[in-house]
Point group: C2
Chain length 451, copies 2
C-alpha cells in the first residue's frame, strides 16, 4: 500500500522507457503521489525523466515538477520550452507557480507569464513575485477561503463551495469585513457543526488571532506557527487586509533548511552539497573554509617560528602542540554551539551576556582542572617524570580551556549583535582562532617557566 522506490522498480521503469511502453508509465507511475513520481524522475537521466513527465496527466506532471529537488529541478526546467513551463505553471497553486517562475531569468519569466492561460493565476503570481522569497509574502499563496462576518452559515457553505474548488487543503476559514480586513478565523469543524441559520459573526474567533505581515521574516513565520501549533496562518498587508495564507508544509522546509544551515556552517560548508552537486560547486562551497584554516595554520607556524630556539633545545614542547590545538578547538566549538542554539530558541532573551559568560567560566574552570590534571599525569609517564614539562602543559591546558570556553561564548554573541549569523562561529573560524590563541598561551607559559 505504501510506495517504496526499489532498485528493481527503477530497472523496470528504465526498460519500459526503452521499450516505449507508455501504458506502463501512465498506469504504474501516473497513479503515484507527485512526491513519489519526483523521486523516481530524480533517479533517472534528464532524458528519461522528460519521457515520463510528458506521459503524465497535466496536473500530476506539474505537481511532480514542484516536488523535484532544487538542483534537479533547475536542470529539468532548462530542458523545457517557455511554452511548456507556462503550461505547467497554469496547473499550480500560486505559491508553487511563483517558486518555479522565480528560478527563470526576467525575460523568460515575463514570456512565461504572458503565455499562461489562467490570467487570474498569472496576475496573482505577478503579485507574489514582488515579495522577497525570505519573507511571509514569498512563502504565502493566494489560494485561501474567506467569509464575510455578516454571512449566515448556509450562505457561507454555498459561497465556500465555490471558493474551495481552487483551494486544495482547507482547514480554516478567514473571516473578513467588507474591505477585506482580517477580523478572525473560523475552523471548518465549527462551521460543519453549526446550525444553518447561525451567523458567521457569532461563530468566529477574533481574540488573540495569529497572523503575519507580508514583510515578516521567514524564520519569524516558522517560529510563530511552531510555537502555536498552527497548520495555516493568514498573511495581511500593512492595512491589515488579508492577502494570503501560509501552510505548514512550506514552513517545514524553512525550519529544516535553517537547522541544516547551522549544521553546514559548523561543518564548514557554505551551501547545501548533495550527492548530485557538481564537483565545481562542491569545491566552491568548501574551499573558503579550508583556506581560512590554511591561513590560520600559517599564522600558527609564524608564532611557533618565534619560539624556534626553545623548540630545538626542548623538542618535548612540540609534542603537545596537537593536544593544545585540539582541546582548545573542541571546547570552543562546544561553547559556541550552546550559544548558537540558545540564540535560536531565544533562551538568552533576558538573562544577559554576563550571566552566560560567568556560567561558562565555571564550566571552563572545572573542565580545565580535569583536563589539566589528566595531561599532567600523562606527561609524568610519557616523559619520565619531567615535572617542569608537566606543570607547563597542565597549566596551559587549564588556561586554554577557560579562554576557549569564554572566547567560544563571546564570538557568537558579538556576531549576533552586529547582525551576522552566529552559527558562523561554530565553524572553522572559531577553531582556527582557538588554535592561534591556544598556541600563544602555551608557548608563553613554556617561555616563562623555562626561561
Amino acid at each position: 500500500m505504501q510506495f517504496e522506490l526499489t532498485k528493481y522498480f527503477l530497472a523496470e521503469i528504465r526498460s519500459n522507457i526503452e521499450a516505449n511502453n507508455s501504458d506502463f508509465i501512465s498506469n504504474e507511475i501516473g497513479n503515484l503521489h507527485p512526491a513519489d513520481i519526483a523521486d523516481i524522475i530524480q533517479h533517472l537521466s534528464l532524458e528519461e525523466g522528460k519521457i515520463i513527465f510528458d506521459l503524465l496527466e497535466e496536473e500530476k506532471a506539474a505537481d511532480a515538477l514542484v516536488e523535484l529537488d532544487e538542483d534537479y529541478q533547475e536542470k529539468f526546467l532548462d530542458n523545457l520550452s517557455i511554452a511548456e513551463i507556462a503550461e505547467q505553471v497554469d496547473q499550480l497553486d500560486s505559491d508553487d507557480a511563483a517558486d518555479i517562475l522565480g528560478t527563470l531569468t526576467e525575460e523568460e519569466k515575463d514570456e512565461a507569464l504572458s503565455q499562461m492561460q489562467d490570467k487570474d493565476l498569472a496576475s496573482e503570481v505577478i503579485d507574489l513575485l514582488k515579495y522577497d522569497e525570505d519573507t511571509a509574502g514569498g512563502l504565502m499563496q493566494s489560494e485561501y477561503i474567506q467569509a464575510r462576518s455578516n454571512w449566515s452559515v448556509k450562505r457561507c457553505v454555498i459561497e465556500l463551495r465555490r471558493q474551495a474548488e481552487d483551494v486544495e487543503q482547507v482547514y480554516t476559514i478567514y473571516v473578513v469585513d467588507d474591505s477585506d480586513v482580517l477580523l478572525g478565523v473560523l475552523s471548518l469543524k465549527r462551521l460543519l457543526f453549526a446550525q444553518p441559520n447561525a451567523h458567521i459573526s457569532d461563530l468566529f474567533l477574533s481574540k488573540h488571532i495569529k497572523y503575519v505581515k507580508t514583510n515578516d521574516d521567514n524564520e519569524e513565520v516558522a517560529e510563530i506557527m511552531q510555537k502555536y501549533d498552527l497548520v495555516t496562518i493568514p498573511v495581511v498587508d500593512s492595512l491589515h487586509k488579508l492577502v494570503g495564507r501560509i501552510t505548514i508544509d512550506d514552513v517545514l522546509d524553512v525550519i529544516q533548511e535553517e537547522a541544516e544551515k547551522d549544521y553546514q556552517m559548523a561543518s564548514g560548508i557554505t551551501d547545501n552539497v548533495e550527492a548530485t552537486t557538481s564537483i565545481f560547486k562542491n569545491i566552491k562551497s568548501r574551499l573558503p573554509w579550508i583556506l581560512i584554516g590554511i591561513l590560520g595554520g600559517i599564522l600558527s607556524s609564524l608564532i611557533l617560528k618565534s619560539y624556534e630556539l626553545e623548540i630545538s633545545i626542548n623538542p618535548i614542547l612540540a609534542f603537545f602542540i596537537p593536544l593544545i590545538t585540539a582541546t582548545g578547538g573542541n571546547v570552543g566549538v562546544q561553547s559556541s554551539a550552546i550559544v548558537v542554539q540558545g540564540l535560536a530558541s531565544n533562551d538568552f532573551q533576558f538573562s544577559g551576556i554576563l550571566k552566560r559568560v560567568s556560567k561558562e567560566l565555571i564550566v571552563g574552570m572545572i573542565i580545565g582542572i580535569i583536563c589539566g590534571g589528566l595531561v599532567f599525569i600523562a606527561n609524568y609517564f610519557m616523559n619520565s617524570g619531567d615535572m617542569l614539562m608537566g606543570i607547563t602543559i597542565g597549566l596551559s591546558i587549564f588556561i586554554v580551556v577557560i579562554i576557549a570556553a569564554i572566547f567560544g561564548t563571546l564570538v557568537p554573541l558579538v556576531l549576533e549583535k552586529i547582525k551576522i549569523d552566529p552559527a558562523l562561529a561554530t565553524g572553522p573560524f572559531v577553531t582556527t582562532s582557538n588554535d592561534i590563541l591556544g598556541l600563544s598561551i602555551y608557548f608563553l607559559i613554556a617561555y616563562l617557566i623555562y626561561q
Copy 2:
C-alpha cells in the same frame, strides 16, 4: 494583537505576584495562549510560576504545563503533588497526558493514573504508555474522528459532532469498517460540501492512503508526513486496525530535534544544553568529547615523540604541525557532513559507496593541489626559500587533504552500515582521528625526504 514577552511585562508580572494581585494574573495572563503562558512561567522562579499556575483555569493550566521546556517542566512537576498532576493530566489530550506521566517514576505514574477522574482517558493513556516514545505509538494520540463507510453524510455529521467534542483539531476523518480496520480518509472539506444523502463510501479516498504502524520509527513518520505534506497521519496496529493519529505539530518537534542532534554531535555535545541547564549536566554532556580529544592529543604527542631527534635537528618541522592538523580536520569534517546530510535525505539510496568515494577523491585532489601549492609558496617566503621544507609540507598537505576527504567520507558510511548514528563522525571523533592520521603522514614524508 500579537503577544510579545518584554522585560517590562515580566517586571509587572513579578510585582503583581508580590502584591498578591490575582485579578491581574487571571485577566492579563489567563487569556493568553498556553504557549505564551509557558514562556512567561519559564522566565520566573518555580515559586512565582506555581502562583500563576494555580490561578489559571484548569484546562489552560494543563495546556501551559505541556508547553514548558523539558528541563523546566521536570522541575515544575517535582513541585506538584501526585493529586495535582492527576488533576492536570485529566484535562489533556491522551498523547500529552502520556508525555507528562512518562516523566514520573513507575510508582508515581500508577498513583497518578489511579487518581485520574476521566477513566476513559486513563485507560487510553495506559495503552499509549506501552509504546516506545521513539515510535509512532509513542507519538500518537487516541483522539481522532472516525466514520463507518456505510454511513450517510447526514448520519456522519451527527455522529462526528459527538466525537468532535474530544478532538481539538479536526482536518481529516478516518473511514473504518465494522472491525475498525482503516479503509481510507475523508477530508472535512469534502464532507462539508457533500449532499446530505450521499454515502461516505462514495466520498472517501481509499487509494494510496498514507498511514504508519505503531512500531514505526519516529523519524520514518516525520519523513512520510514531510514528503507527502500531511497534516495528520493515521496509525494502525498489526491487524491494520485504526488505533490513533499523529498531528504535524508533534512531528515538527521530531524533525527539529533530529536536526539539532546532528548539529550537537558535530559540535561535540551529547545532549541539548540550554541556558537553564545545570552546570553539572552541562559538563557531563561535554566532557566525553573533550576527553576523546585529550586522548587523541596524547596519542599525537607519542607519534611526535618518536620523531624527537628530527624535530630537535630541524625545528621548522614543528612549525607546520597546527597547519597539518587543522587542514586535515576541516576537510574531514566537511566530507563527513556531506555524507551525513546525504544519508539523512536518502541521497545515496542507489548511487553506492564507490561513486561517492571516487567523487570525493577528485574533490580532495583538487583541494589538495590548491592548498599544497599555497603552503609551498608560503613556506618559500617564511623560511627563506627552503625548498626541501616546501616540498615536504606541500606534499604532506596534498596527501593529508585526500586522505582526510576519503576517511571523512568512509567513516559515516561505515557507521551507518553498523547501525550507529553517522552524525557521530562529524564530531570530535573524526577530527581527532584526522589529527593522528595527518601527523603520521606528515612526519613520515619528512623522514623520507630528510633522511
